[in-house]
Amino acid sequence: MSDGETSVLGELEHRLPRPDALHAMDLADLKAAFAGESQAAERYLVFAEQAAAEGLPHVATLFRAISFAETRHARNHFRVMAGIGATADNLQTAFEGESFEIDEMYPAYVEVARLQGDRQAFKSLHWALKAEVDHKRMYAEARETVLAGGDIAEQQVSVCQVCGHTVVGDVPDKCPVCAAPGSAYRTFS
């Protein structure tokens, strides 16, 4: 998690690499590096959970810290590619990404998993598709609010740690997607 991000960025932002008029090969390289760093960050978070489950709390801490370092690299590459705009634009980018996953990517992947009889893959892909539908709606509503000149309402957002189901406001007793209990949600407040 990038919890340290917001506390220091104001003062240090001038130190970060800036958007650059990139040549095509540099842009291709940075895209690949951004993909690599993003995936490394996620892998290390999962490896941290595994280390904690094995009774290795300090190795877990190490994986979390290095995951954070990889998120710094991902952010730097993303900045140089001019990936970060104003919030209204970022909400539109996020909305379009979710739309692609909902309309194109996950339906195709879910269908192939069904065809090939890969049940665990089907579950993983189906759960993601379900959550992206919620995300798309939340981003659309948030963008409307920003364009009208304001922030969205102050409400907690909670995420099911099993399937990624995302809900604004009260946590349900049971996840409507994977049936995990409400205690499985992580709340951002």
Binding site: L9, L22, V46, H58, N90, R119
Partner: protein
Amino acid sequence: MADAFKNTPPKAEKLGAMTEENLKAAFAGESQASQKYLAFAAKADAEGYPNISRLFRAVAYAESMHARNHLSVLGGIGDTAANLKAAWGGETFEIDEMYPAYDAVAKLQGNAEAGTSIRYALTAEKDHQAIYDSTGKGLGAGNDLTDAPVRVCPICGHTVIGDAPDECPVCGTAGQFFTAF
């Protein structure tokens, strides 16, 4: 697939080749979405939208859960000894192959900001490679790491175990800004 919705994260299974390819692409997509949303959250905070920032952070976390599930089905999660080895292998590839090539292209094309972003990463990956190596060896001898904090430069990702330096040796950021784990 009536039994596909039990309350457990998906597990590794023997996959059809196309499904495996799709899951790899989905893992890449979720990982990148998560990082984009974290960057967007920071931007929303800077623009005075704390509630939109929270939405981005929460959805980034949801994408993280999807990434973990896909990785699990792909069999990408081993025991910690295997995970340290896999992590070391990834860092080694970035150090020996990926970043030197990208760095050379950035120099050739005169993209100074790209060069900075690439060199920051390359330098930190060397820290990570060394730490994973020594941690894996310690684990092989039956030892967890010490409880010394791990500190990360929030600008360039430079990573140290123990005290923060006065100044980051890579990018010059004051040590007080390092994030401690």
